[in-house]
């Protein structure tokens, strides 16, 4: 089985890796690039745990074939903080206890970032629908929604 | 004397006896005495039950001391989520 050489900009750096042509971006990021912050919860686009920004758009990495990202840009949870400075969403998730087990958290952070990037002042309903592609089984979503509201407010004031 | 309450699920072994007063210093000795009275009950109690002494539920309580006039209940073993 031959593997394809793929080059992409991942979290700001140009990265090359090898991947089976039919393998998913999710497996490539985890196994080949070592970005295990991207989680697999279902592998079929139903849980959002593997959410990344692909060419600026929120996407489930499990639904993307690895060769599709040739020349593209990817941001994962590992690239969310600016150096040592946490993204306001990360800080608000921490302070608001918006995670319990933490497995869904990377996906939620990416989905919330995608939301706030396009809508800096979302209503509770808009937040809930924007995060509906991300399953959390621990929190009942309450503290997640509140953390996103708080982060939105901080970003607006910044 | 400890007052021992046996759950209805054990009555196939106790011939319908529900409550009994027994002198025993520890839970293990109590189970042994019960087994002599109701053969077979010993293994059922030690393999699949917790014990409540005066309302406090304990597991692995074989060597637990039984205070005077204690109320003893054997309970089904519990799983936790």
């Amino acid at each position: 089985m031959s593997r394809r050489h793929i080059t992409a900009t991942i979290n700001g750096d140009e990265v090359d890796f090898l991947a089976e042509e039919g393998s998913s971006l999710l497996n490539a990021l985890r196994d080949e690039v070592g970005l295990t912050g991207v989680k697999e919860g279902c592998g079929t686009g139903d849980c959002g745990s593997c959410s990344v920004l692909l060419n600026d758009y929120l996407t489930c990495a499990c639904l993307v074939f690895a060769p599709e990202v040739e020349g593209g840009t990817i941001v994962t949870v590992e690239g969310l903080a600016n150096g040592g400075e946490l993204h306001p969403l990360q800080q608000c998730f921490l302070e608001g206890a918006a995670l319990q087990c933490g497995i869904c958290t990377p996906g939620f952070l990416m989905a919330a970032k995608a939301l706030l990037d396009r809508n800096p002042n979302p209503t509770e309903t808009e937040i809930r629908y924007a995060l509906a592609g991300n399953l959390c089984r621990c929190t009942g979503y309450d503290k997640i929604v509140r953390a996103v509201q708080e982060a939105a407010s901080q970003i607006r004031e910044a | 004397m400890a007052r021992v309450h046996l759950s209805a699920g054990l009555r196939d072994l106790t011939g319908g006896v529900a409550n009994i007063e027994i002198e025993a210093s520890t839970v293990g000795r109590l189970i042994k005495s019960l087994d002599q009275m109701f053969p077979g009950i010993g293994s059922r109690l030690s393999e699949g039950s917790s014990v409540a002494i005066n309302g406090e539920i304990l597991t692995d309580a074989e060597y637990e001391k039984i205070p005077a006039s204690a109320e003893i209940h054997f309970l089904d073993i519990l799983q936790g989520g």
Partner: protein, 750 residues
């Protein structure tokens, strides 16, 4: 937050700092079960039965073995037959669940496993394993399994708890009974008797992280496992049993766990990974796909429950008659025992008869799920309670208050209750503004209550004081929802140092003493007690060291606010950092370990209020407001107590409205995905308001009870009662899906 007793002035307990493991989890650094990558690691794949019940006639691995990259193949022949080695019945069942021997008992049951260089190769090899089956008739429900002449899963199963002992084997593993008083007399005294029958479907814990294990076996027989579980000591013990080796040959490192709710107390992949690693001579990673999680890890029981209860016009409960059949899945062990003990435990009922049956069916073996056994029983009883209250025209909370168990009440399951906070949770809901808020068209309101025991069990902890006066708290309880924070808060309180100066660590099985599983809402209580004990040994030691430094008696030294103080103030205080920095002069490093089998478990109660809106034309129910009041004893870490309460409610709402295992007539699960097994998404739920009631557990140093489980007990009945209020129909089968609700509305309209 309702504080029932005076706050004793804790500095750290009850605060909301940032959790110690939070940073790793919001930056993607935390290592979960599937995140371990070892040099030379192989990927495994599991071959599973497509049949619900079949005899394995032959397994041909020859093609799979010869495929590219394949390094190992295993079947039950690679595991000791515990039935031949005098294993206990429980161990034999466990082993046969990990790898089927002779018969497969459910769709998804493991029959073989392979390991290969890549995932793709492993999957291809698993697909190439040829298994010949003789398909057998199957049973899927309590009714089918208990029918005369039902096909048997286990030829040697004779129902326990029946007098006389049955002569014929059956699918009923055991019967439990609880009784008191005179049922006939009780019903005769009642002015209103309601008798109803309920069914519930198996539902899955639905943790987002699939089961995962990486094993690295050495040629000397030792093995190291990295896995995500609720108890790595239990994984060690169970893996050793299935492999037929001493637990001492296995080391288990606890990965971060991506949710469990009871479902990750069971061994599935670990023995397979170790055996594959041994055969291949290389590390092996096994990760379940989501559909394998649904098909082959344990959901909780589907049930059939009948409840008959009587009440006087004055609101006095007189009698309860309960029959419960609980599906165990393929091997005995449903939580019907706990169901029998909890079903009417909230109420003081003079006459009752509760009978329960543990029934095997051709579905995956059930596993614990949050207050195992209690939620479905509460669905039935709390719905009947609502009908009784409405029938005699009394407020549903008042009916519960009038019959509520209190300190000293003889519990339905036997002993007398110590100090409990049920009444306080009922009052918290009754006094909540939502209870009297106005409802709109097609909206309705329901309340329900629930009880759970909580657990104690075995825990160990070690506390090390570092040379700069900071502390490391080493525990062996996997942190599933913030327990590292509660350990650190209690240690900070005991040591008198800042929370930020405490580093809690979940250690592997060779680095800390034994710990039972993280389950039963026990970790803050039991592991917390071990941490408190260890800290108290340390503070005694610190006083002794200060006494030595000052050349005074230890009784002249107090430990206050993180420093040693002479009782008469004659010495300048010595801080923890002072003593730690010079510990070599006073006896060496400062460290203490405590191990215990926890006592003083405090029971938990929850009362919940639900408002729904029903679309009468489509049967869609939306939960629009929700309030949960729960007695936490003492909320060490209130943010995560609220999280547990909210999470339990959310799971309960899913169970109430949409979640269910759907099997076709062949016994094959049809909805083994997060698309069709519908757990609630963010837009399905409202904010979930929490009222933490604190009635401290008198038997615990901080009053802790345990908060993880009871929150899932009331929601199904709360939702059902709200639907009844909104739409005028009584839903008796879970889930209360749009299809079923519209059917009921059509029936009502006729």
């Amino acid at each position: 937050m309702a504080v029932i007793e005076e706050n004793p002035g804790y500095k750290w307990v009850g605060t909301r700092p940032i959790r110690p493991d939070g940073l790793e989890k919001i930056t993607g650094k935390a290592q979960f079960g599937a995140d371990s990558i070892l040099p030379g690691m192989l990927y495994g794949s599991v071959v599973r039965s497509p049949h619900a019940h079949a005899r394995i006639l032959s397994i041909d691995m020859s093609v799979a073995k010869s495929m590219p990259g394949v390094k190992a193949v295993i079947t039950s022949a690679d595991f000791p037959d515990l039935a031949l080695n005098g294993g206990s019945a429980g161990d034999i069942d466990m082993s046969n669940n990990v790898m089927a021997r002779a018969k497969v008992l459910y769709e998804g049951h493991v029959v073989a496993a392979v390991a290969a260089n890549t995932r793709e190769q492993a999957k291809a090899a698993a697909d190439a394993v040829i298994v010949n089956y003789e398909v057998l008739p199957h049973v899927l429900t309590v009714d089918e399994a208990m029918a005369d002449n039902a096909p048997l899963l286990h030829d040697g199963m004779y129902t326990k708890g029946i007098d006389p002992k049955p002569e014929k084997p059956s699918n009923v593993a055991s019967r439990v009974v609880h009784e008191r008083g005179d049922l006939d007399k009780g019903f005769a005294e009642a002015d209103l008797v309601i008798e109803r029958e309920y069914t519930t479907k198996p539902v899955h814990q639905g943790y987002i992280e699939p089961h995962a294990a990486v094993a690295d076996a050495n040629s000397d027989g030792r093995a190291h496992i990295w896995c995500s579980s609720q108890g790595h000591f239990q994984m060690r013990a169970h893996t050793a049993t299935v492999l037929g080796v001493s637990p001492g040959t296995i080391k288990v490192t606890a990965a971060e766990i991506g949710g469990g709710f009871g479902g990750k107390t069971v061994v599935y992949l670990e023995p397979l990974a170790v055996r594959l690693s041994q055969r291949a001579g290389r590390p092996v990673k096994l990760v379940m796909d989501r559909d394998e999680v649904f098909r082959a890890s344990g959901p909780t029981s589907g049930t059939r429950i009948k409840v008959k209860m009587g009440v006087t016009n004055e609101g006095q409960l007189t009698a309860a008659d309960v029959w419960m059949g609980y599906e165990a899945g393929a091997f005995s062990g449903s939580p019907v025992g706990a169901a029998g003990m909890t079903v009417i435990a909230c109420y003081d009922i003079p006459n009752f008869f509760v009978e329960g049956f543990d029934v095997v069916v051709n579905k995956p073996r059930v596993a614990a799920y949050r207050a195992p056994g209690a939620p479905m029983a509460a669905f039935a009883v709390e719905t009947v309670m609502d009908e009784l209250a409405r029938g005699i025209n009394i407020d549903p909370i008042d009916l519960r208050l009038q019959n509520a168990v209190v300190e000293g009440t003889q519990a339905s399951y036997g002993p007398k209750f110590p100090r409990i906070g049920f009444v306080e949770t009922l009052e918290a809901i009754k006094n909540h503004p939502q209870y009297t808020a106005e409802l709109g068209p097609n909206q309705g309101r329901g309340v329900a209550a629930g009880f759970w025991f909580n657990a104690g069990m075995n825990s160990s902890a070690t506390v090390h004081i570092n040379e700069n006066g900071t502390a490391t708290v080493v525990v062996g309880s996997p942190d599933i929802g913030g327990s590292r924070q509660s350990m650190a808060l209690m240690a900070a309180e005991e040591l008198g140092i800042s929370y930020e100066n405490i580093k809690p660590v979940v250690a592997d099985t060779e680095t800390v003493g034994f710990n039972d599983v993280t389950g039963g809402s026990r970790v803050t209580l039991a592991t917390g007690a071990a941490v408190v004990d260890a800290c108290r040994v340390i503070t005694a030691d610190l006083r002794a060291r200060a006494a030595k430094t000052w050349d005074v008696e230890i009784d002249d030294v107090e430990w206050v606010d993180g420093q040693a103080q002479h009782v008469d103030g004659s010495q300048p205080p010595l801080s923890l950092a002072d003593l730690a920095g010079k510990s070599g002069r006073t006896g060496g490093p400062i460290s203490a370990t405590a191990s215990l089998n926890a006592r003083g478990v405090g029971a938990a109660f929850s009362t919940q209020l639900c408002d729904v809106e029903v679309d009468p034309e489509t049967g869609i129910t939306r939960v629009i407001r929700y309030v949960s009041a729960q007695d936490a004893g003492r909320a060490i870490s209130p943010a995560y107590v609220e999280g547990q309460m909210q999470g339990g409610v959310a799971q309960g709402i899913g169970w109430a409205l949409n979640e269910e295992y759907i099997h076709n007539s062949s016994g094959v699960m049809e909805n083994a995905s997060f698309l069709d097994y519908r757990i609630p998404v963010a837009s399905d739920l409202p904010m979930i308001d929490t009222v933490i009631v604190e009635v401290p557990n008198p038997a615990h140093p901080y009053g802790v009870r345990g908060v993880g489980e009871v929150g899932i007990v009331p929601p199904m009945a709360a939702v059902a009662n709200a639907i009844s209020d909104a739409a005028g129909v009584r839903m008796k089968d879970l889930p209360m899906s749009p299809v079923k609700l519209l059917e009921a509305l059509n029936e009502k309209g006729k």
